[in-house]
């Protein structure tokens, strides 16, 4: 394909906090191009009268009752923490490079 997707690859890599080698970037730009080609081919299908869906299974989700169940013990919770301080996960500073974008913050 003639379209160069290296900018898109850089953008997505930045969002995903990935550092890619020039070789990898080149390979992935090619792969991205192929994927988009496939998507373009799918778009050629006649979907007139077909309801759009967002899930492959046509079922109702299960709802559970509002009852508590035992949580994990503290040591199990923190077992994989890269760094632990007292009973907390300790993480590097957030504000130096990035604006906080916490859910509902």
């Amino acid at each position: 394909m003639s379209v160069d997707f290296s900018k898109e690859v850089d953008y997505v890599a930045a969002l995903a906090r990935l550092t890619l080698e020039p070789e990898e970037k080149k390979r992935m730009a090619g792969q991205l191009s192929d994927i988009l080609d496939t998507a373009r081919r799918i778009r050629e299908l006649d979907t007139e009268g077909v309801e759009p869906t967002s899930h492959v299974i046509n079922l109702q989700p299960v709802l559970r009752d509002d009852e508590t169940r035992p949580s994990l013990t503290l040591n199990r919770v923190l077992q994989n923490a890269p760094r632990r301080q007292r009973d907390f996960f300790r993480v590097p500073s957030i504000t130096a490079n990035r604006q906080p974008e916490g859910a509902g913050e």
Partner: protein, 478 residues
């Protein structure tokens, strides 16, 4: 040039469930850190979310209370971003197809009715809590994370840009809180973070249709600070525009100490959350009977109650607002009004002496028996006791729950009245205070008040000052 302020609010509300939105971990506030966590809310591989039915019911309840249009089918999406308050690196939220669209809330600002429209209401999962090292979020070296909060059901309410001042924002939030409390969806405790509010604010030339460049204001921890922060930000923007400058689109933090908004410097451009449908959850279809059942069980909303209180009991606007905002106080008033029909008097005692005694004693209104309270008012109405004694009995009743009638009998606090009981007292006081009696005879009215006071003291406050005055006047002929 005159500018008008345009504000839209984004409110986050923790729903009052026992367990989290997608797992069975508990939701109680103030637990030891990281003790309410499981593979689902920690985002461990292989775990799968399962909807909490109650959370959906409460979300629908809140949306209906705000006149939202509940969507028969809504969908959950992944909102992707790296921030350590989310263990999964994405938040399960709703993007394209929220639970509810539209809705509105009527508010009253300086006697004018205003309708604030809502854009949407959707359900998502709460994030964990970060504790930053150092004094503030800026320049902190590291953060500690507690995931107890992660996964609590969170409702997001987004208003249209219909709010015109910081004051209006505060009034809207107060009324919104009231509606949500009445609906039972949330305890709305801003101090515990179960209700939070961010704002988008911009200015435009008065009368213009176009929106100006906005800033987003965060970290406002009370309704009062929302009002202050937005007033501050509006003024800051106006100063920039008036000097011919341009507003930078950015996120600001409200600094509660310094009472200023501070921009959060960001290296990145606008966020790209790369929303996509959550593959682990099926689209949520709500059938109309589910929605109708909830609609039918909605309690009376504050605006309706305000009007009814005025109509049914002849209360003033101020009283109706008090008994609506302070719901428990209103419930108490209405319970007492079942057996006591002098509503004006009742309302006066409830908002005056009763509230005073509650404050003094630290008791809450739920601890007071409305029937006991009515007992007291009836004793006073029958003139079995006088007003000072009534106040004393009220204090005793609030503090210890003692029955006023029983106290009157035990402590013989009944009113002393009738000239045959009071006459000897009158004579005694005059005999003991000849100078005062003489002064009154010579035309000094103050002396009479002194004599009445002496007599009241001798009866330990149980006589009626009016009756005593009359008797003294008869006794001391000028």
């Amino acid at each position: 040039m005159a500018y008008e302020v345009v504000i839209g609010l984004e409110i986050h509300l923790e729903l009052q469930t026992c367990s989290k939105l997608f797992c069975g971990c508990g939701t109680a506030f103030g637990q030891e850190p990281n003790t309410n966590c499981c593979p689902v809310c920690l985002g461990l591989p292989g775990s799968l979310p399962v909807f909490n039915r109650r959370a959906i019911e409460l979300a629908v309840t809140a949306a209906l209370a705000l006149n939202g249009d509940i969507q028969e089918e809504s969908r959950f999406d992944r909102k992707n971003y790296f921030y350590p308050d989310l263990p999964k690196a994405y938040q399960i939220s709703q993007f394209e197809r929220p639970l509810s669209r539209g809705g509105c809330l009527q508010i009253e600002v300086d006697g004018n009715r205003r309708e604030i429209r809502l854009e949407r209401i959707h359900l998502e999962e709460e994030a964990g809590k970060l504790i930053h090292s150092g004094d503030s979020i800026m320049g902190s070296e590291y953060s500690l994370v507690d995931y107890n909060r992660a996964g609590i059901p969170l409702l997001e309410i987004v208003t249209a840009p219909d709010i015109a001042s910081g004051r209006e924002a505060r009034i809207f939030l107060e009324d919104l809180r009231s509606v949500l409390l009445y609906s039972g969806a949330s305890d709305c405790k801003m101090e515990e973070g179960s209700l939070r509010c961010d704002a988008n604010i911009s200015l435009r030339p008065a009368g213009s249709e176009n929106l100006g460049t906005k800033t987003e204001v965060k970290n406002m921890n009370s309704f009062r600070s929302v009002e202050m922060a937005l007033n501050y930000e509006a003024e800051r923007q106006e100063n920039i525009l008036a000097a011919g400058g341009k507003i930078t689109q950015e996120t600001c933090h409200w600094d509660e100490e310094k009472k200023i908004t501070v921009p959060l410097r960001s290296k990145e451009g606008s966020s790209d959350y790369r929303y996509f449908p959550e593959p682990d959850l099926l689209p949520l279809a709500l059938d109309s009977s589910f929605i109708k059942n909830i609609a039918a069980s909605l309690p009376e909303m504050p605006a309706a109650r305000r009007e009814r209180l005025k109509e049914q009991y002849g209360l003033s606007s101020k009283e109706a607002v008090l008994f609506t905002t302070n719901r428990q106080l209103g419930d108490f008033f209405e319970a007492a009004a079942q057996t006591y029909s002098s509503y004006k008097n009742l309302a006066g005692w409830v908002q005056g002496d009763l509230m005073y005694q509650l404050r003094e004693s630290g008791r809450s209104i739920e601890e007071i028996d409305p029937l006991r309270f009515v007992e007291l008012l009836k004793l006073l109405d029958k003139k079995d006791i006088n007003r000072p004694v009534a106040k004393e009995l009220l204090a005793e009743m609030v503090l210890n729950g003692t029955s006023p009638e029983k106290l009157v009998k035990e402590k013989s606090l009944g009113r002393i009245s009738g000239s045959d009981r009071l006459q000897p007292l009158i004579e005694q006081v005059i005999a003991e205070n000849p100078a005062a009696a003489e002064n009154y005879r010579r035309g000094k009215d103050k002396a009479l008040a002194y004599l009445v006071g002496r007599a009241m003291a001798l009866t330990a406050g149980r006589a009626d000052p009016g009756e005593l005055t009359k008797l003294f006047k008869e006794q001391i002929s000028r």
